[in-house]
Symmetry: C2
């Protein structure tokens, strides 16, 4: 891996290996189901989510020196940082309604932010305009791109290298980038561990796609707290891998996502964003499916507004965690 | 390391290696000071704090099968779990005013909890009574014990093995167990990295001890949010090492502890308990001391009540983190 010295150039390897966490009290909480959880956490990945794996792969492999993408979330931060590391430039198109924290983060990583009023112009339109203005630029997709899948495949390789007899790996599904990367990485490393998707029930286009045998598109951006899964559909490149590579997709209700965020915080000391908690939420949603199993839950990222997080902590449901389990 | 099969026996090594985290946005926040932070986080250690290192060392090295200790915090959980792992029993004396969450955690790890009304009887008295009732029992100290120092020394060994040119390692100081263990572990591994203590200003007996050249005892348990440092004094065994082994102790005001908890959460995705945030808080308190340095901050644990944590998040001071840094 080569890189020129950027402002943020880290001292050690560029992509951080995933952080494996086994939490005794999380397992104790799920003991009545007989499920043992091993967390593969990307919350300490550079820029705080798995998206850096793909962004770095894209930034280093395209010949262009200017990259443009539309992202209000983790891919924008990841691409900004990846470009800064190797001395490239990037423009991140974000809705003007994005939180100040997210806008500030992209800027801090060195990205140029283009704010748009999405009522007047779509993100896609603005990206196309910018691409026309900058004919030498590369327009980067956050999920639907072979380079993205290739970048994310390193997570699958790492999980395979653990050489542990997992009964399943569960991965969030939004655009399908991480799930397809996982499948590719695991299979290439000779691992046959089943991969199961976890998708918000409110945005269950992936699950409906598996049932129909073709990509189903949500009519509108789903209003789930898992903001990383507010996608209209999985990408075409991802679909080719997911259609036969996934053992299934579990559709997770919102309350289970919130409960999983709390469980990770209370019982594994892990700060996860709602999208990152989808995998554990899938276990809470369909526990019978994982009875007596050891399951690797991918926690895709940890970037969440502090006010959102504080609200999630406060919203603990009566009886959700009793005295002996909180 | 040998152990019999206990309810909670983990699959891999018993003591989890510390988790090294480098956070770009934390460094960016401190860039004007020229300080680079490398976190050595014990928040994912078994039972969520470094205390397990010592507790496991004690539990496996004393011949007794029943252990008794007084702890309302992390040592109680750690000893309960260590004993459960190797098939020993333990009694944890806790004030009846302890939070339900902490009492439940000790029980969940397999410990027997003895609640006492501390207005009627001190913890020490109750421990002595229990020891008299159980003459075959070992009374375990959470800090002032060579076995505790030996157990904690593994963290120093791990940091030395990173082989990185840290200008300093900063460690919380309460009873002095982790700081003395760090010094022993580093020096034994041939590392000369200076070790600096971080202590709440409200309970600055350690700093006063260094100034006086003898152990100074707080008149009462200090009312700091860093509950792991609510100690009356450092232990005698620890003092022998700390007196000449520490480069100094930084006395940290409460607001810096709270700010450090928030910074770790917002900019490193790390859930730290207030005591765990002391090391970073020391950098915030005395930044000039670390100018242009790379500092390893030990985050000693992550166990904190969710309501306390939510309040810390809400209490962000105006201007503490501006738009471009939150």
């Amino acid at each position: 891996m080569s890189s020129s010295a950027g402002t943020f150039l880290p001292d050690d390897a560029i992509v951080r290996p995933t952080t494996i966490i086994e939490a005794t009290r999380l397992d104790a909480h799920l003991a009545h189901l007989g499920v043992k959880i091993v967390l593969a956490s990307e919350t300490f990945q550079r820029t705080g989510s798995f998206k850096f794996r793909a962004a770095y792969q894209v930034a280093t492999n395209v010949p262009q020196n200017l990259l443009i993408t539309a992202s209000s979330g983790n891919f924008g931060q990841a691409l900004a940082y990846a470009c800064a590391l190797i001395g490239k430039s990037c423009i991140i198109v974000m809705p003007s309604t994005s939180s100040q924290i997210k806008i500030a983060a992209v800027r801090e990583y060195g990205g140029r932010v283009e704010l748009i009023d999405t009522r007047a112009k779509s993100r896609k339109q603005r990206v196309q305009e910018l691409a026309a203005e900058n004919p030498g630029a590369f327009v980067a997709a956050s999920a639907d791109d072979p380079l993205v899948i290739e970048g994310n495949s390193s997570l699958g390789r790492e999980i395979a290298a653990l050489n542990r007899p997992f009964d399943a790996v569960i991965s969030p599904v939004g655009g399908g980038g991480i799930a397809s990367g996982l499948i590719v990485g695991l299979r290439r490393a000779g691992s046959a561990i089943p991969v199961i998707g976890a998708e918000p029930l409110l945005g269950n286009d992936g699950a409906r796609s598996l049932r129909k045998g073709r990509i189903v598109v949500n009519e509108f951006e789903p209003d789930t707290i898992a903001d990383g899964a507010r996608t209209l559909s999985v990408g075409a490149h991802n679909w080719k891998i997911l259609q036969h590579g996934l053992q299934g997709i579990i559709e997770v209700p919102e309350d289970k996502i919130a409960e999983a965020v709390r469980l990770l915080f209370l019982r594994a000391n892990l700060k996860a964003e709602p999208t990152g908690a989808l995998s554990l939420a899938a276990v809470l949603t369909a526990p019978e499916r994982f009875k007596s199993q050891t399951v690797c839950c991918v926690v895709s990222g940890g970037n969440v507004d502090p006010s959102t997080f504080a609200k999630l902590l406060r919203d603990r449901q009566p009886g959700e965690l009793d005295d002996t389990s909180a």
